[in-house]
Structure formats: C-alpha cells, structure tokens
Symmetry: C2
Subunit: 267 residues, 2 copies
DNA sequence: AGTATCTGTCTTGTATAGAGTACATGTGTC
DNA sequence: GACACATGTACTCTATACAAGACAGATACT
C-alpha cells in the first residue's frame, strides 16, 4: 500500500482535530477519533494504518487499541491484525435503542412506510450538528436509492435538514453549516439566505419537499417528528423518483405527516 | 461516602476495578467503567451519582461526561441532569452489525426460530469471558421467559455456556468461571469437574440440553455455530417449558442444529 | 432565617500517561 | 543476501490530565 490515502476521509468535523498539531493529546480524544474514523471508513483497518489515519503516534495507538479490544469496544478482525468495532458497542447501541422510545418506534414506522409505499424510507436526526440517517429501509424498486445508516450528509442537501433546523437562531444555523455544505454534489451553490428562508417556510408548512438536490433523479419528502411543541427531534422521509406525479406526491406527504404526528410527543 | 450503595452493581468483572484504590486512574479506563455501569443499570443517572457509582472524583467525572456528551457517546436524558447512552453508540453498534455477517444472519435466524416454534429463542456469544445474550426474540407463550439482550449470565448456568467453551484448555475455563458462577440461583452448587465433563460431551454431541438450571420451569436447548472447524463462535438456543415432551424436544433440537449448521462457516 | 445537600465550574500541584525512540521479528522484493 | 518496510513490544522523559478542594448558585427541609 504505497499511497495509503485510499482511506482518506473527512474526519475534521465534530471533533476539531489538528489544532496545534505537535502537541500531546488526551487518550480519550484519540479514542473518540479512532471510533469516528472507523465509522467513516466502515471497514477493519490495521493498527499502523489507524495510527496514520488519526495522526497519532504508533506506540500510543497500540496501547489504546489494546485497551479498547480488552474492553470489547473493538475487536481484532478475522484475518489477523486489523481492528473494527466490537460486540460491546453493539450491546451499548441496543441499550440506547431500548432507552429511547422515539428511536424504537421510529424504526418501526420507517419499516412500515417503506413496505407499504415500496419507496425508500428513512429516519433522520441531528447528530452533533450534522444531519444523520439513523435508520433506513430500502424500498422495493429495482434500482433503489441506497443510503447507509449512520451516513452524515450536509444539512442543506436534504429536505429533512430544513425541518430539523426549524426554530434555531440564525447564528446557530450559520455555525452548523459550512461553506462547503452549501455546494451541492453537482457543483451548484445554494445561498445561505435561501436556505434559511426554506427552513422557515418548511417549519410553518409542517413538511418539506426537495427535488434533485443530492442527485438529479430523486425527490425527497420529509415530515417533522416533535419531542415537544416546536422542538423537532427527528424527521421521517421518503425518497421517490423525481417524476412522481403531483397527486401521488401529495398522497405520500399526507401519509408521512400522519405517521410523523403519531410519532411525536405532543406535550 | 458511607452508604451510596443503592446503585451498587457488579462492575468488578471485565475490568479489574479497585486495584490500589486511592491511586490516580487513566481517563479512558474511567470512561470504560462509566459505559459498563450504564449498561449494567440500564437507566439514566445523575453525574454526581455516576461519580459515586464508579468511585471516581466528581470533578473528573464532570469533564469526562462532558467529553462523551460532546462526542455523542452519551446524551443528557430528557428530564435534566442525567446521562445515558447516546446516538453515536447506536450508530457504532449498527456498524458492528453490518460488518459482522454472523451476527446479522444469526439475528434473522433467531427471529425466524421464535416465530416458527413460538418459543423464546436467543443468539449467544462469549463476551470478554462471559456468556452474553446477543439477541433474543420473545416467543408467543402467555407467560414468556424474558431475558434482555446484553444480559450476562454465569457460563455454568446455561446450555450455551457448555457449548461455547468447547475446545478450551481446562486452565482457561477455570479462569473464566468463578466460584460464585458455580452456585445456581436456587443455591445448588455445581462441581467444576462435572461442568468440564459436560463441556466435553456437549461438544462431541453437537448440542446441549439443560433442565431447570436457572429456574425450575424451563429447559434450555442449544446448538453451536462454528466460525471455523472446531471453533464455536456462538450458539443459538431455545427456552422451552421443562415438561416439553421428549419427542417434541428432539424435533426442536434437530431444527436448532440444522439452523446452527446453516449459520456456521464451514471452512 | 439557618442548615444541609445537591449541581456545575474553576484553579492548582503532581503523579503519570503519552510521545519519542529503539529493537526484535516477520514479510516481500530485487 | 541485502534492503525496505511492515508489526508488536519495551524503554525512558516530561508535558499535562487527573485529583482535590474551594466556590457560587439551587433546592429542600426545619
């Protein structure tokens, strides 16, 4: 592996990584970076490469990985000297689901929706200032739009993003959305003001539709799930072909809004 | 802190906790203890209480929890100043499932089994030297035997435990099984030699049945899932009423073994 | 009012965890 | 065989992360 950068991934987001560089770094932070990196790459990696990837000293990485493997948060992957997430993280994740009504019911509802409509359906939330697909159910189309659970996408690219930011101060939104986030995959550039206006109208309307934003062939319908009046905790959304008729789209939106309302906690 | 033990939970297992006590402790270890404690208690807890529970200084606990909350591994629970597992752990857990064929297929198979037989079915694995219920599907009996995912039970109490230890050295087994583990819930005491003999016969037979071990009313049927010839990676098991007829038991065992074989990777 | 017990933040000294470096071992290539 | 480049472990040295304690603000009970 001469290039080694085949694994290059955006890490410099949630945790501000590099700072003054050369300096000594807290072990816990290194661990958080390791986990974040594994989440981004979605595959097992050798310890040496891992050290490079999170730009940590090799010796440190070895000791940290040993701790994590002993604790079961990481596991040595089958073929020898690679590590990936471990069973413990799965167990903790299940604990989270159990303690979180919204997630549990939301997953169920999303599965139902995709089965009933045949379209890809997703449950989305804000995760440390970023849009995250928390659960996704594929739908039955021959060429289905796949998007992995846990994928993080810039907020302005999505319908759900517009709903999730409802009620936030302008300053907070500016903080969450980087310049890069405003550039769509096809190179087009959104204006921050337009985006903020979209947020307001979507919030008022109680749903949001975006067409051809992340790609040219799909349209995204989303409805907000409230954890308290005015507070959007999550969204459920459907990804449909962009040429879906207006009538059908309206039906799906109505369906989506009804399900979202059922999931909401109307305190 | 004279009492404070309302929250006392067995923590002194995987990680050897107390050691020389008064001494300074690595932040990462404290974090691992915190996660383990939350997993054991299965509920949100105040930061002050958390500090007591893992016997860490309050100030340290505050900083660690802040880091973990910022990273999304923990979340402040709804009502104010309590913490519990966060979304990130769920996402990491899903990554684990995705990267782990056996777990993914095993969950599926267990769900099928419990639907087809109506009995409680479980997927079990060794997790840092302890028996762990990795996935469990309830079955349809009016009074069903419930056992939570992630629950850890002494190996000698279970049929799966006997299969999971197949092929291990006697010394290793002695190391994994404490004196307490040999005492059943009703007070009866198993002999280590008998247990080790059970392991051998179960391994040879390719299945294991235990009756009335954890409680007087149930019988546990288990079959091994292999990750390589001779290496037991997991078990699938059925929990049935103790008075299930011999004939029906035999049928279920045959079914179980067939499913387990299908899950196995026969290198 | 006074007392007691929380929570959350901040500051300071020092034990120690992390960084750097070296070395033994393994593997592939020329 | 010599070289380049991995992995995994072991060793010091010192910058700093942890621990302890003080502090202000809440809440609660007498």
């Amino acid at each position: 592996m001469q290039d080694g950068n085949a694994l290059a991934v955006r890490l410099d987001d949630g945790l501000d990584e590099d700072k003054a560089s050369g300096s000594r770094e807290k072990g816990l932070n290194r661990v958080l970076q390791i986990l974040e990196f594994l989440h981004a790459t979605q595959r097992a990696i050798g310890i040496g490469d891992l050290a490079k990837a999170v730009s940590a000293p090799r010796s440190t990485t070895y000791t940290l990985v040993r701790s994590l493997v002993d604790a079961g948060l990481l596991e040595m992957a089958g073929d020898g000297n690679r590590v990936y997430f471990g069973k413990k993280l799965y167990l903790y994740g299940m604990d989270y689901v159990r303690g979180n009504d919204l997630l549990r019911r939301g997953r169920q509802e999303v599965d139902n929706l995709s089965r009933e409509t045949g379209e890809t359906s997703e449950l989305c939330m804000l995760q440390s200032g970023r849009y995250t697909i928390v659960h996704s159910s594929p739908g039955t189309r021959p060429f289905r739009i796949s998007s992995a659970t846990g994928l993080q996408i810039p907020l302005p690219w999505t319908a759900s993003g517009r709903l999730l930011l409802a009620g936030f101060e302008r300053a907070v939104i500016e903080d969450m959305v980087s310049e890069d986030d405003l550039v769509l995959p096809d190179g087009r550039r959104l204006l921050l003001d337009d985006f903020i206006a979209d947020i307001a109208t979507s919030g008022a309307a109680g749903y949001c539709v975006t067409s051809g934003l992340v790609d040219a062939y799909t349209k995204c319908l989303a409805a907000p799930v409230f954890s308290a009046p005015g507070k959007v905790e999550a969204t459920i959304c459907l990804v449909v072909p962009i040429d879906t008729s207006g009538e059908k789209t309206d039906d799906l939106i109505a369906m989506l809004r009804e399900r979202a309302a059922r999931l909401s906690i109307t305190g």
